[in-house]
């Protein structure tokens, strides 16, 4: 008997109240996805590639300078990655259909179609698409570390977070083989091997990954949390990444500079 593939809708929940900005996700992503080394020059040229990055926002800076009390300052961390929008602004602008939305809720970048117009990066409000301005090179011995399940992107094409699709493909193959849905629990950091690299690394469980179509799954439940919101929801992009609001003892509902 042949079982049809189980329809998934992959999604992530990011609880920013847990995030400490430790960068474990950033490095895990670079290790898994063959991202070229972000050398000093790349940062200075603002061409560093980080599929997931931790943004840090300051609060109360001018007040602290005025009063001379630095403890008035707050730092806020938020991990930002491709939001895999249901209504993605990057998709309609691609002249060659190199980026599109697939039936698993993912925004896909097809490297071999991409011609590098960079329209998509221009149109992305989250700034999570990266253009390869340079041919990626590593010193000879470091090639040994590259992941054979991920394409090394050449110069001249766009790349971005894939939700570690190479791992998801493995899940789906296992589902077909075993003819059953792999539960969200297996994406849970401790028991499964399938979650995206950043989720697997995150020490504080800020990042949780799973199938939004599985009503009993952890992610589907967490996405309904009263703290849940979508980044820049005013833009109507309908991301599949749900953030959970930061809890602050003092700040009012909307206080943010």
């Amino acid at each position: 008997m042949i079982t049809p593939r189980i329809p998934h809708k992959w999604g992530m929940v990011v609880d920013i109240d847990r995030c400490t900005g430790c960068q474990a996700c950033v490095i895990a992503c670079q290790a898994e996805n063959n991202i070229p080394i972000n050398t000093e020059d790349r940062y200075i040229q603002r061409r560093a590639i980080e599929w997931i990055r931790i943004e840090r926002y300051w609060e109360g800076v001018e007040e602290a300078v005025k009063t001379g009390d630095p403890s008035l300052v707050k730092a806020r961390f938020i991990p930002v990655l491709c939001q895999h929008c249901e209504n993605a602004p990057c998709e309609p602008v691609c002249p060659v259909y190199a980026t599109y939305h697939n039936n698993e809720g993912m925004n896909v970048q097809v490297y071999n179609r991409c011609i590098g117009t960079r329209y998509c990066a221009n149109n992305c409000p989250y700034q999570v698409r990266f253009f390869n301005f340079f041919q990626p090179v590593w010193p000879e011995s470091l090639y040994n570390q590259l992941n054979p399940h991920v394409t090394v992107r050449t110069r001249g094409i766009m790349e971005k977070c894939t939700f570690c699709i190479q791992r998801l493909r493995k899940v789906e193959r296992k589902e077909v083989k075993e003819q059953k849905r792999i539960s969200d629990a297996e994406f849970d950091s401790a028991s499964g091997m399938y979650g995206p690299a950043c989720v697997r690394a995150c020490p504080t469980d800020t990042l949780v990954f799973g199938d939004l179509n599985d009503p009993n799954g952890r992610v589907a439940k967490m996405a309904k949390d009263e703290r849940g919101y979508q980044m820049f929801d005013r833009l109507g992009t309908e991301p599949n990444v749900i953030y959970l609001k930061k809890v602050d003892l003092h700040a009012s509902e909307s206080a943010h500079e």
Partner: protein, 752 residues
């Protein structure tokens, strides 16, 4: 040859054709598939296998699983079964892969030969030569064995056992080098709780955490395990959200995540803790028995908030409020370490801080301080870090010719000791310096022999994480891949494990030393420890047959027994000090600013050779690759200092040039410089990059333990007129505010 236009066109057409043709082909080598010669025991070509091992990048000994494909390690993840990090891992564990495949790893022993010491010129040599030189020197010094000094990084378990027995059998001196030592923490714990291993801090179940200087989310002890607990502490199911207050002069990662950050004057953390104790004691908020044990209210009279407020820089109201919140929120947990320990009054500070736990009676309770049991027999050996006072003595001994041979392994004292100590000059007086560094580090530059050792992914080992999770845990490290330079073995080169080398040398020297270390190989040594665990017949692994036990031990990545907990500590005789100890600073007339060195993503400098770690943005400043100095934003504006201005930081011991980062969250009287930059060598990613903050630190020590007081130096800063753009993540992409969207982060109040 003259060219007509037509010929030029023809020739260029030709060239173009050649280029096109070349571009249509690919490297033919890519079209080859190699079939291995031998069938690996358990590896089928093309399938990825995961092996459990330990992380050797920092001292925390986290359990890892490593994905291996076709003999190459591809990815590191946390070992889900391992109790400490439970499937999670930090950035540094991940970067262990880059240590394994580092392009500048030494492919075999090198010797200084006739070259001048320290000029960086070496000749290739073989292991036979290297081992002969090493063995010969040991034989020669046998009558004067104390002149042989072995310096290692922190060691626990079988490795510590081996080195200790080796040095005892031979009569050599063994010193453990840690740039950021935990000597003060150990001493404070000893005073407050008696002679116990470092306890487990139950962050996950605490309601209120009062942390003094301990950057437990960034660099303190085991940030990954603490991070895992922190997630629970914030948003764990079925619990109220915990409150974190960080008391620290610098805005560390932990301070950035805290609900409240209390910037105090450096070195007054203990004073503040005692003042909090005063409020708790006087208002009878805490545990009455605890208060009596600590000497009652009488001892605290000198620490009324009104008295200490000016010295600490925290207001009376703030002290009182924190004291109330801490005592009322049960359980409250007080942590201390990091810069609070790195003062001349470090033990005073930390013992006052940990006494707060006794005061609220959280010892041994969920959400409090939980004692750790001693490690089981067979892996119980621990080599304690040598405090700064001993390094001073070593330098004196080296200068006076009392050190004939210096063996350095897993440590870079030339880089990590304050330059003022004069280690570099003293090194020139030692006739034989042997380094085991796999990469040319600063100390190896001055060595006569560099005998490169395996990385953690190529060697055997076992370790007892310190601090443990409240019960007995032993982690086991196995080679997950074959040694990278295996092909060099035929030339008698390649890398070897340090323990294996010690065993070979012991056999070569013979006599007492060979009897002291009865093992053949490092694997035997680890198996020997495993046999003792097997004999316990309890915990996570019980087998009737040792072979089955050994295989499962390696597969699980270790052994643990959740029932093997420590009993409550005996009543300690610790009394709160009636007399405050004030910090002393290494200062001269014109050095108004406190210098706070801190561990960035490069740790104490040991991770500086890893490009991922160099490129990992510092969480708060998002700076990468360079060494910077954090200066109060208001102060920087007054002085006309902008980001990227090269600033000279001068102490009475020296000066370094670093990039300025005007920082809104640092007090006006403090500047902070990350450790880890300024290596003279250590591979292409670290060499001559940034500045080494150790160059300007004074050799001040803690009064009670002699530990290095690395936060006790004062400096001045001045702009020197040059500018270098700071490589940082912030600004790599435009901020959403600039794009006229809306806020990225939304807030809510905690559920009442």
């Amino acid at each position: 040859m003259e060219l007509t236009r037509r010929q030029l066109l023809k020739l260029s057409g030709l060239g173009l054709g050649g280029v096109l043709y070349a571009a249509c082909t690919f490297d033919l080598k890519e079209n080859n598939v190699e079939s291995p010669t031998l069938i690996p025991e358990d590896l089928v070509n093309g399938i990825d296998t995961w092996y459990a091992t330990l992380c050797r990048e920092c001292g925390a000994a986290e359990g890892l699983i490593v994905r291996v494909m076709e003999g190459r390690a591809k990815k590191v993840e946390g070992n889900p079964a391992y109790p400490l990090n439970a499937g999670k891992h930090g950035a540094r564990c991940e970067a262990g892969l880059q240590a394994l495949y580092h392009p500048d790893r030494l492919a075999g022993p090198i010797k200084r030969g006739e070259n001048a010491r320290g000029n960086g010129k070496f000749e290739a040599a073989t292991w036979t030569e290297g081992l002969d030189a090493f063995t010969g020197a040991l034989k020669q010094q046998q009558s004067n064995a104390a002149s042989v000094v072995i310096v290692t990084g922190s060691l626990r378990g079988p490795s510590a056992n081996l080195v200790q027995q080796f040095t005892a059998g031979y009569g050599a001196r063994h010193m453990v080098f840690e740039s950021v030592e935990q000597t003060v923490l150990g001493e404070a714990i000893k005073r407050v709780y008696g002679d116990v291993p470092l306890p487990h801090f139950d962050i996950a179940n605490a309601q209120y955490i009062l942390s003094f200087g301990a950057d437990f989310l960034g660099s303190w002890l085991n940030p990954v395990a603490y991070g895992r607990q922190y997630g629970e502490f914030r948003q764990g199911a079925n619990r109220k959200r915990g409150v974190l207050v960080q008391v620290e002069p610098r805005f560390s990662t932990t301070a950035a995540s805290a609900d409240e950050w209390v910037p105090v004057n450096p070195g007054t953390e203990g004073l503040l803790a005692l003042s909090i104790a005063y409020v708790i004691a006087n208002e009878r908020l805490g545990d009455a028995n605890g208060l009596t044990a600590l000497g009652g209210t009488a001892a605290l009279q000198a620490y009324a908030p009104g008295v200490v407020a000016t010295a600490t820089g925290a207001s009376v109201e703030k002290i009182q409020r924190i004291a109330h919140e801490f005592a009322v929120a049960k359980p409250g947990l007080a942590l201390g370490g990091g810069s609070a320990a790195a003062h001349t009054n470090g033990v005073f500070n930390l013992s006052a801080i940990y006494a707060l736990n006794t005061l609220v009676g959280n010892t041994g309770k969920a959400g409090g301080v939980i004692m750790n049991p001693r490690a089981p027999a067979g892996v119980e050996a621990v080599a304690q870090a040598a405090p700064m006072a001993q390094w001073q003595k070593l330098v004196d001994d080296m200068n006076s010719g009392r050190v004939q041979a210096l063996i350095v392994r897993g440590a870079d004292p030339l880089y990590g000791l304050p330059a003022k100590l004069g280690f570099e000059a003293a090194l020139a007086k030692v006739p034989l310096v042997v380094s085991f560094s796999g990469l040319m580090d600063d100390t190896a530059m001055f060595a006569d022999w560099v005998l490169p050792e395996h990385t953690g992914f190529e060697d055997w080992g076992a370790d007892v994480p310190l601090p443990g999770p409240g019960y007995q845990v032993v982690g086991v490290q196995q080679p997950v891949v074959r040694e990278f330079f295996e092909s060099q073995r035929t030339n008698d080169r390649g890398t070897r494990g340090f323990n294996d080398v010690l065993l070979t040398v012991a056999e070569g020297v013979g006599g007492k030393i060979a009897q002291a270390v009865p093992w053949k190989t490092n694997r035997d040594l680890v198996m020997d420890s495993a046999r003792k665990l097997f004999a316990l017949n309890r915990g996570s692994l019980k087998e009737t047959d040792f072979n089955a036990f050994w295989i499962k031990l390696l597969a699980n990545g270790g052994w643990w027994d959740q029932n093997a907990k420590a009993s409550a500590p005996a009543a300690s005789a610790f009394k709160l000090p009636a007399q405050a100890q004030n910090p002393e600073f290494q200062t001269s007339a014109d050095t108004p600013l406190f210098l706070m060195p801190f561990e960035s993503s490069l740790g104490d400098g040991r991770a500086a050779h890893l490009p991922w770690m160099q490129a990992a943005p510092d969480p708060v400043t998002t700076a990468t690759w360079r060494t910077w100095v954090e200066i109060n934003l208001g102060l920087a504006r007054e002085k006309g200092i902008e980001e990227g201005d090269v600033v000279r930081v001068t102490s009475q011991f020296g000066e370094i040039e670093v990039l300025a980062v005007p920082h809104p969250a640092i007090p006006r009287n403090v500047v902070a410089v990350p450790m880890g930059g300024g290596h003279r060598n250590y591979g292409r990613y670290a060499q001559d990059r940034g500045a080494n903050v150790n160059a300007i630190l004074g050799p001040a020590t803690d009064k009670d333990t002699g530990a290095f007081a690395w936060a006790a130096t004062k400096v001045r800063i001045e702009k020197i007129g040059r500018r270098i753009q700071l490589p940082k993540m912030e600004g790599t992409v435009p901020l959403p505010e600039q794009l006229e969207h809306q806020q990225a982060i939304l807030f809510t109040k905690p559920k009442s």
